[in-house]
Symmetry: C2
């Protein structure tokens, strides 16, 4: 198993500068995908780039047939990102297959390995192009998005030798009986708990919004009772949002940006704007988020005699992952002698796209310092390999699971 | 009495543009002061510009002698200011003297009328140059301040035909037995209360500070318990500052500007900075402000596991005004059939500089909409004249007050 070597090799496919910069459809990304296809062939898979720029490798030794177990993630990166995010899920899957081959294990059904196109979405502003094509979503609008230079997705595809008209041909999810994604955690939960394997039971839904509070700007000598202070009202909203998330389990609320106008020492702000980022892992609570956010800020605005508006800027449904697969992952971790815990993923992943179509689960390994999307992103070689070994064990254990591997009804 | 006409005339001394722009020592300001000196001479006062650029007129009819009752304010303005701030206190005082002359009233002691140089402080960043020279403060450091073009106060004085070496000669406060300043309120207290005359019993002390909160920047998927969120902590501080001021009487707390870094939707702010403007009218509470501010933010920072620093940027002691003069103003208002109420001034004034040296009080008249430092600044002609009539009545009433007008012990 050459996992560490493969990770180092793939990190070389990058624009100049710190860390790894491998934006979707860019020359380093396309070269990396072609290298990957070659590497999969070398490992005994039948590999090609599909119509959406996904690299898909198929391992079907000795006439294995029926629906496949899918593995994989993505190898595109954010600007100045790290060498593990996504990449470990692809190369770890390859290592898992090579481990199985070393053990002379022969699966009864095929195993597919995918590297999905443009998971990050940094270049064109929307994410998960490849997995959305793989499940057959309509991507016409996506193809018209443009990057900062004005080039559209369609043009970027053509520059890379692909045809935007063929994207529908990438639909292949029906060939899978299950999908399993290994990924670095991108947080500190495993690290803080001292646990090796995160068994991801849900991928959080995300609501992002901008809240604008309008009061009345006035001189700082204005007595307190008559004020309509946009910033004081916003501050109460920010505290209340934080307290709401604290009172729930597995929910986060983040206010990351904030501005107040006119912004003078001796002037009561007449306008204030702040961002809101809310995440919950379950659909039941996610369905109430928008209304609860609106009620919370409206209630405070009324008390503070100011006006408030909420504009939703992003709204991504949570994914609940497959219980049977989660149990298999736990058994696999135990077989490898690894500690494990269930946890939601606070970040989005290709698994979120696949989960409505096919039983899906994710395996997390710890990130040093919880850092990701950074040149300092790091997961120890031992944890990288452990992730691959757990994937391999899940494939072994799944063979005994007729219901999981049986033909789709 | 030509008060309305004088106000209109003086408004013409301005740079081009909206409202009145008559910055300290600027050609329009110096021309306005020279016009004023001529106008005072015309009204029977002995007037000149002193060594600090103050216009001082002395009315000593029929051998009135001893310490004088001082009246006045300032005629410099902020950029794009109005025609009433300061100016009404000077021209209203002139109107009061002309009223007394119309009534053939002869005071037993002189009356002085001052227009103090650079009350606003906008040009050089420090305020009240003229009144500080009048009371004999050391202004060596002030003379070295420079404006946005790099010109120092000393150079601006020389350009206007004054010698910075002579500033000490402007000291003249010992000639006064009392000082009385008429001013527009610059707020809405009188307007909201439907009262004509504000009897200003104190000028608030001002503490301004910048608070910097340092936490740890992290991804928005970080669980709530492990966060060190600089903005959430700052929001609690802002609410607590507001609640503190609400719980006190006659105190204001304003957070006017605020920034959070790095400022992304999905990133917990690692640093946050905000301004604080605290005002109280009494020395006892003012003396505790700095410590209470520091304790308040430090207490919240400890609970929020962030660090906090407080940098005091301005610290101006409050002035408590003279009770005997306040009573005279109330009697004067009643004589004129005007409603009155005691109130602190939330803004700074020359009276704040004079109060430690001589019994001082202020008279406020209402500002339409509470607006000041704006071309829209407006006080009705009726309220302008009422202010002048109250000043005249105070001078009449003071004649019977041997203690007030007696020689300084």
């Amino acid at each position: 198993v050459k996992l560490a070597e493969d990770l180092a090799t793939l990190a070389e496919f990058s624009e100049a500068g710190p860390g790894v910069t491998r934006l979707a459809w860019s020359p380093p990304h396309i070269r990396a995908l072609r290298w990957l296809a070659g590497r999969l062939e070398e490992a005994g898979l039948d590999a090609q780039l599909d119509a959406a720029g996904n690299c898909v490798g198929r391992w079907a030794p000795n006439g294995a047939e029926g629906q496949a177990i899918g593995l994989g993630s993505h190898i595109d990166s954010v600007p100045a990102g790290g060498r593990f995010d996504g990449t470990l899920g692809v190369l770890g899957a390859l290592a898992a297959i090579e481990l199985l081959r070393e053990r002379a294990f022969v699966p009864t059904t095929p195993v597919w390995l995918m590297s999905f196109m443009d998971e990050e979405g940094t270049r064109f502003g929307e994410s998960m192009f490849g997995s959305r094509a793989f499940v057959g979503e309509d991507l016409d609008a996506y193809l018209s998005l443009s990057d900062s230079s004005g080039a559209t997705v369609g043009q970027a595809m053509q520059d890379a030798g692909f045809s935007p008209d063929d994207v529908r041909a990438a639909r292949a999810v029906a060939g899978l009986s299950a999908f399993l994604e290994l990924h670095v955690e991108q947080g500190k939960v495993l690290l803080d708990a001292g646990v090796d394997i995160g068994v991801v039971n849900a991928i959080v839904g995300l609501l992002q919004a901008r809240v604008v509070v309008r009061g009345v700007s006035d001189h700082g000598s204005t007595p307190m009772p008559g004020r309509h202070d946009a910033l004081a009202a916003a501050a109460r909203m920010i505290v209340a949002l934080r307290d709401w998330a604290r009172d729930e389990s597995d929910m986060t609320a983040t206010v990351g940006s904030m501005e107040a106008w006119p912004g003078a020492y001796n002037t009561i702000p007449g306008k204030c704007s702040f961002s809101v980022d809310l995440r919950v892992p379950d659909r039941a609570r996610f369905a109430t988020l928008r209304e609860r956010l609106t009620d919370l800020v409206a209630g405070i605005a009324a008390q503070e005699t100011v006006e408030v508006g909420v504009e939703i800027t992003d709204f991504i449904q949570p994914a609940e992952l497959d219980e049977r697969l989660l149990t298999l992952i736990e058994r696999a971790a135990e077989t490898e002698g690894a500690s494990h815990m269930r946890m939601p993923s606070g970040a989005g992943h290709d698994s979120q796209v696949l989960a409505p179509y096919v039983p899906t689960a994710m395996v997390f390994v710890p990130s040093a310092g919880g850092v990701s999307h950074s040149p300092e992103e790091f997961t120890t070689p031992a944890h990288c390999e452990l992730g691959a070994r757990v994937l391999a064990r899940v494939i072994e254990l799944a063979q005994g699971d007729a219901e999981l591997l049986g033909p789709d009804a």
